[in-house]
Amino acid sequence: MHESQGIRTEALTIGYDSDLIKEITFAVRGGEIVSVIGPNGCGKSTLLKTLAGHLKERGGFVYLDGKKRTSFDKKEIAKRLSMVMTERINPELMTCRDVVATGRYPYTGHLGILSESDQKVIEEALNSVDAQEIADRLFSNISDGQRQRIMLARAVAQEPDILILDEPTSYLDLKYRIELLTEIRKLTKEKGIAVLLSIHELEAAMRISDTVVAMNREGVQRIGSVEEVFTESFIRKLYGIEGMDVSILGSVPWKVGYIKKPCVNTTGKAKVIMVQGTMSNVGKSLLAAALCRIFTEDGYRTAPFKSQNMALNSYVTKDGLEMGRAQVMQAECCRREPAVEMNPILLKPVSDHRSQVIVNGRPVSNMNVKEYYAYKKDCIPVIIEAFGRLSETSEIIVVEGAGSPAELNLKDGDIVNMGLAALLSAPVILVGDIDRGGIFAQLIGTVDLLEVDERERIAGLVVNKFRGDEAFFAKGIEILESKTKKPVLGTIPYLSLLFEEEDSLSDRLGSHEKKPFQIAVVRLPHMANYTDFATFDQLEDVGVSYTDRAEDLMDSDLILLPGTKNTIEDLRWLKKTGLYNVILSEAKKEKLIIGICGGYQILGKWIRDPAHTECGGEEEGLGLLDMETVFGTEKIRTVFEGVVEDAEESLAALRGCRVKGYEIHMGNTRIAEGMRSFTSGGTGCCKGTVYGTYVHGFFDCKEIAAGVLRSAAAKSRKQIDTIGLTDYVEYKDKQYAKLAATVRAHLDMKKIYEMMGLPYDKNGTV
């Protein structure tokens, strides 16, 4: 038998009278079993019949042995491809041998007389399915299981390179099913036949398939290995049984926990290093960012990675996909475009108990903790795939953990800390926060609580946020090293660098230091995307306070309303706390008030949520701007590039300024006629001293930040020096360089390179 190239399709469109499924591309090679799964009536048989040529392809191509099927005539196809169909045949007075003999049709002459070699093939086919003893019985007198075996023998007698079986195990009892599948597997391996079969028994499909094609009425949903296809959430989605109780099936193998953990083979690909913390906010993100910049400076193509982020704060990539801002910052440190692969899973809290789950940049659904806990094991392939894509374009990947690796109650199915480290075979740097105290308990305790194999992954410790003289801590390092048997890679000083921070616990929120020029950001309970105002940190004389105190608002020179995840609830909160009236009275005093996104919506007259996108209902806004917002179900996520079209006298300096930023919101705002526009494209409006815009990153351009500051200062009759102000992007880059320099000075980079198996002085720069 010649080496079979099997069968493959290219952008195949199938269907009877109309296009049922389009763009199907996959291949079955010799010696390989590919199974097609999916609900009843989704087109599995149609696909198989089209491949076999019983139905015409409606588009695209089918290749047999590397050549277009249409280039063969019927008999040549029959010599290469045979099929077992679902149609139950009912031949009269035909023995099993007669039935098998029909498989020789394409090989016999005009009269159909069987030669000796034909007879031999028939006997072999009967033997291959152990059917010699029923060979002379009438086909109509044997059982279903035996019939299916005979049909298999008939297909084998056709001596095909490709065998297509349409639900071969249906109607069969357990014994026959096992026998038939065993025979199919044996034939595949022994004869090197390419086997394509449709099947409903997922357990069996998992065991015998090399590749699985999963389809439903919407089309082919996934083509991949067993591990890639048989995840609980995917199977539930495929068959439309989300949320259905499947316990009646007993323990089904596609349920979570059955599949052994796949492992990423990282050898020969990117080097990996992972940063984990003893708790939240120990400075993992910053340390990872610093490492990213250091490796980048040292000439390595570096990328950040965090499997799962929990943050209110998200960023929209060029493709309109959402990801955590920490990885954006780290990507900027690597001097590369942020990509959603760097943070495949993002959780955005929408209430105390629920989070929006964003996978590969797109919202999947809102889940509570329990639901997510069940869901997250399904995310392993997503994470692996994202990491895989990233490693193709990177030499070093800096992976960041989340929270603590010793959350003992949550360790089962961990995909963010040690579980991920194991998956990626990554050495781990464990970071503790000395500023918050208990550094020994943090580091030694965490190491101690880990399992033996996890402990081995830890390659070094880092003491972060150290204040004062390092020399005094020499003893501390000794203790840490002797107790944990791990090297301390360095103590990093408390960085007074100002950065985007992802977590809501960010220290920034606590600052109440008074500066000559005060900006008050209303600290809404569901505040999001507050990096909008980080650019103001550049100026010494400018203080930004995130506040919920009326005095702060009244004392400020500029009031900013930030974006929020829950506009209506936050509006109600404003009313409840009385800040609502404070803002109104400040507006009356002609104080400059600027709202961004959700804050902009709050400035309007009404906010309505008929579709229950947030919490439902409607709420009267501040009414400072003549517009109203209705929440739709569609989320707007775009990058914004435009100008300040118009502005009131109070911000006249901004007119014509270029604006770069992004929009991310659910609501649609209708601006009343006669309102002055603000940012272009109907993304904002203004009235008097009140301004609103949907554009995040509005202040990042130095002209705008400076213009706003100067106007606000003029109103308060203050002087402000904005010369030190640069574009936020530039500012950030300088900060990153500074950060990297500091960390480099305090961290044993040689050891870190060694951990990754890289030479320390690649370019002699260190």
């Binding site: 076999a52 029959a78 010599k79 169909m85 009912n90 031949p91 009269e92 007075l93 016999t108 009269l111």
Partner: protein, 340 residues
């Protein structure tokens, strides 16, 4: 084992044919002795009434009966294969009735205009009718998947054709009526040498043609999908089957009139005898079996109530309907089947 059964069946049928042929030659209102027959047959006596009786009446009729039976049995076998239906046959599906209608039409209207249609014209007219009904049934078969409904439809079409034929007879000239009436009941009386020759040529041709299709017909036993999957050009095969079965049925109808139940019953009888459905064996056995059965029926038709002759269809019905019923009951017991 099958091989032996096939050979035994063939031998048996040949013996039966010879026996029936001899019997047919003897039977009739004019008694002919064995020695006389021998002399006439071997050409020792060349003149006389009995010579004419034998060569102009009994021999054509005998061969006519044989050919009729062969054609009907073969046609039935092809239709049963085609429709995957054990009770399909030219009569049941209304094909014979369609042929009868067009032949009646041709006879009445063309003869009244003074045109004489020859044997070939009759065959052509019958073939047109047979094809028309066949195509109609085929269209139905696209719509209805259930075989029993298809058969009922065929019978209904048969009734319509019969009704229209009656109508034509009603308005026909008196001179034609007698002719037409005899013919429409189905009778081998009055068949002549030229007709028998034409029939024989057509039926033998069809037989060889069908025999040549044995291989694809054999593959079709597993259903069209499987046949297609081993490389049978199913569409072409269908066309061949339709043409051959219609031509066979039409040919019989044109000369003998509609003869019922031979087409259904004979394939089943011979199938049981040889114990296989291999077309290589079925086709010749049907051919001989149909000939034997029809010869027997014709013999009965003309001798049982002699000198009165009954229509051959009456005899075939009485003898073969029980066979058809037996088939149906047997199939029912097996359960399911494609016509359930």
């Amino acid at each position: 084992m099958n091989q032996k059964r096939f050979i035994l069946t063939m031998i048996g049928l040949c013996i039966a044919l010879v026996f029936l042929a001899v019997l047919s030659l003897f039977s009739g209102s004019v008694p002919i002795s064995v020695s006389e027959l021998k002399e006439i047959m071997f050409g020792q006596v060349k003149e006389g009434m009995n010579v004419n009786i034998l060569f102009q009446i009994r021999l054509p009729r005998l061969i006519g009966a044989m050919v009729t039976g062969s054609a009907l049995a073969l046609s039935g076998y092809l239709l049963q294969t085609f429709f995957h239906n054990p009770i399909a046959g030219p009569f049941v599906l209304g094909i014979s009735s369609g042929a009868k209608l067009t032949v009646a039409f041709a006879m009445v209207f063309l003869l009244s205009k003074g045109w004489k249609i020859g044997s070939a014209g009759m065959v052509l007219a019958a073939f047109a009718g047979a094809m028309a009904v066949m195509l109609f049934v085929l269209l139905l078969s696209l719509k209805v998947r259930s075989m029993s409904i298809l058969v009922v439809c065929g019978i209904m079409v048969g009734y319509i054709c019969a009704a229209v034929t009656d109508l034509i007879v009603t308005f026909a000239d008196d001179s034609n009526i007698v002719n037409l009436h005899n013919w429409s009941l189905g009778s081998l009386s009055g068949i002549g040498i030229p007709e028998v020759e034409l029939m024989s040529v057509i039926v033998l041709g069809c037989f060889l043609f069908v025999l040549f299709l044995s291989k694809p017909i054999g593959a079709l036993r597993l259903g069209e999908a499987y046949a297609a999957s081993v490389g049978v050009n199913v569409r072409l095969l269908r066309v061949f089957l339709i043409l051959a079965s219609s031509l066979l049925a039409a040919c019989v109808t044109a000369f003998v009139g509609p003869v019922s139940f031979v087409g259904i019953a004979v394939p089943h009888l011979v199938k049981g005898a040889i114990g296989t459905t291999s077309p290589w064996r079925m086709i010749p056995v049907c051919f001989l079996g149909g000939a034997a059965v029809t010869m027997l029926c014709d013999l009965i038709a003309r001798t049982f109530f002699a000198p009165t002759e009954v229509s051959i269809s009456s005899v075939t019905a009485v003898l073969l309907v029980p066979v058809v019923l037996w088939i149906l009951l047997k199939k029912k017991k097996e359960g399911g089947g494609p016509y359930a």
